[in-house]
Amino acid sequence: MKSGEVARLIQERYPGTDVRVPRERRVMVYIPSGLLIEMLAFLKDQGVTHISTITAVDRIKENIFELLYHLSWENNEISVRIEIPRETPVVPTVTAVLPGALTYEREIQDMFGIRVDHIPNPEKLLLPDNWPLGEYPLRKDYVVK
């Protein structure tokens, strides 16, 4: 399926959604965080099963965490993007829709301190057991010691 068709499909279901195609095989979907699960469930109904990873970006100047859920569908890599406030960094778990997302949700919890609500396994994934509480190494204000 061409990337333009993917974009049209999403816009038909969710009119007014900002969907961009920076180049063939790449689709960027900008949505409010409240729509995340619904959007992923919609894409799953269309046949998306594979989540490649979740990228978090600390936009410290704007006081925002941006999250990109990279989904792969046929030839397209679809990035569903949400923004959440930096003071209350909470997202719902998407594992009910895409069970494979668990690893990446644990990763963003470790590295960015973004709390994933109702995550099936909240244990640390990448940081050691004795890592100090409340320190999140990939946040921009974390100073490497």
Binding site: T53, S72, N75, E77, P137, V144
Partner: protein, 387 residues
């Protein structure tokens, strides 16, 4: 009453390259549940990239992995080139693919040996690692290096394939083709191998898809997913190859896929030597990268590798996100281990070809006597054969 015991495996093990721990819960000899802990050696590469220039990062990223170093730099360079709007020369694209396929061959041959070792059959390790030397020599011929080839740069590749080397490269491919056919014969006919791999570590297609497995692991569960075909990059749109799959879904199926892929890689390498366009091997890239972002994907020997690079217009990147294929395969590894015998744990874990890992001495506590035995994973693997 049914009792289960929890056995920690790792995090230090001489048989593996990096530390990890697998906590296996056993009921007698059977594994009923597992948990994989990989948090022993996080190097903070993503954080480190934010303090380095784009070119410095190339050399840091080359060292994310020792076995698939070229795939990492290819994926990173592609992302930066996309933000820069650079189109690299055709010859550079073909050279990138050539090195990538040689890398795949050496990685898969390495795996064949390690798989042999894990089932207590070190002859296979000696044979396949001897043959793997051919690939290291070929890579050295082109790049001067056996492991970190440092072939990529932003804007193309750093070294050309010299015409006088083509004969040696072709001879190397012919030798490897013969050897790989022999290994396929061994894998499909040899009882030692069949007994230890058929039906072991089964991963159904549905679970493989659901838990987002990648690479030979998912292809051995009959899912036709290959980034070279699905999201073609470099010269792959011009190259002919088959995506090797198997419907076996077990360790044996994964062996069939990996060895089959070596033959496909040889086929790709020959096409490249036949059809490589003449011309420049790189274009000049400006040191500063404009504001922008790119998602780049490659098929590493172990599966889908994805990079997300964001620039804010400065000399260092705003964010580089790396997701290596092994991380994507941990969840299915836990699934595969359920229901196997303790003696099969090493080969099942090894079947995903973990790059990050792995683990260590195995401590087994006999609950009735509280006696603790420390043994090696390799010795555990041999136990079953001796019985």
């Amino acid at each position: 009453m049914k009792e289960t015991y929890r056995i920690p495996v790792g995090p230090q093990h001489p048989g593996f390259k990096e530390p990890m721990r697998i906590d296996i819960t056993v009921d007698g000899e059977l594994v009923v549940d597992t948990d994989i802990i990989v948090s022993f050696n996080h190097r903070g590469v993503e954080k480190a990239t934010e303090a380095r220039t784009y070119l410095q990062n190339l050399y840091l990223i080359e060292r994310v992995c020792g076995i698939c170093s070229h795939t990492h730099t290819t994926c990173y360079s592609q992302a930066v080139e996309e933000i820069l709007g650079l189109e690299i020369p055709g010859r550079a694209k073909y050279i990138r693919c050539f090195i990538a396929e040689l890398e795949r061959i050496q990685s898969h041959l390495l795996w064949v040996g390690v798989a042999g070792h894990e089932i207590g059959w070190d002859t296979l390790l000696m044979y396949s690692w001897r043959d793997r030397e051919t690939i290291n020599d070929m890579l050295e011929l082109i790049s001067g290096n056996r492991v970190h080839y440092a072939m990529n740069t932003i804007g193309g590749v750093r070294r050309d394939i010299a015409p006088e080397n083509v004969k040696d490269l072709r001879e190397g491919l012919t030798y490897l083709e013969g050897r790989t056919e022999y290994y396929i014969h061994v894998i499909t006919k040899e009882e030692t191998f069949l007994n230890r791999t058929r039906g072991i570590g089964h991963l159904p297609t549905k679970t493989a898809k659901e838990l987002c497995a990648v690479g030979p692991t998912v292809r051995a569960s009959d899912v036709k997913m290959d980034i070279r075909r699905d999201d073609p990059y470099a010269a792959y749109p011009d190259l002919d190859f088959d995506v090797v799959t198997s419907d076996a879904g077990d360790v044996w199926g994964r062996s069939i896929v990996k060895t089959g892929e070596i033959l496909q890689s040889i086929r790709i390498c020959r096409q490249i030597l036949d059809e490589i366009p003449v011309g420049e091997i790189r274009v000049r890239a400006p040191p500063k990268v404009p504001a922008g972002e790119a998602v780049s994907r490659c098929e590493a020997p172990r599966g889908e590798l994805i990079y997300y690079v964001r620039s804010d217009g400065g000399s260092t990147p705003e964010r580089i996100k790396i997701r290596s294929p092994t991380l994507a395969n941990w969840m299915v590894a836990t699934e595969m281990l359920k229901g196997v015998y303790i003696a099969d744990v090493p080969i099942v874990v090894d079947a995903i070809d973990p790059c990050l890992s792995c683990s260590a001495r195995v401590t087994i506590t006999d609950h009735s006597t509280m006696k603790t035995v420390i043994t090696s994973l390799g010795a555990l693997g041999n136990q079953k054969q001796r019985r």
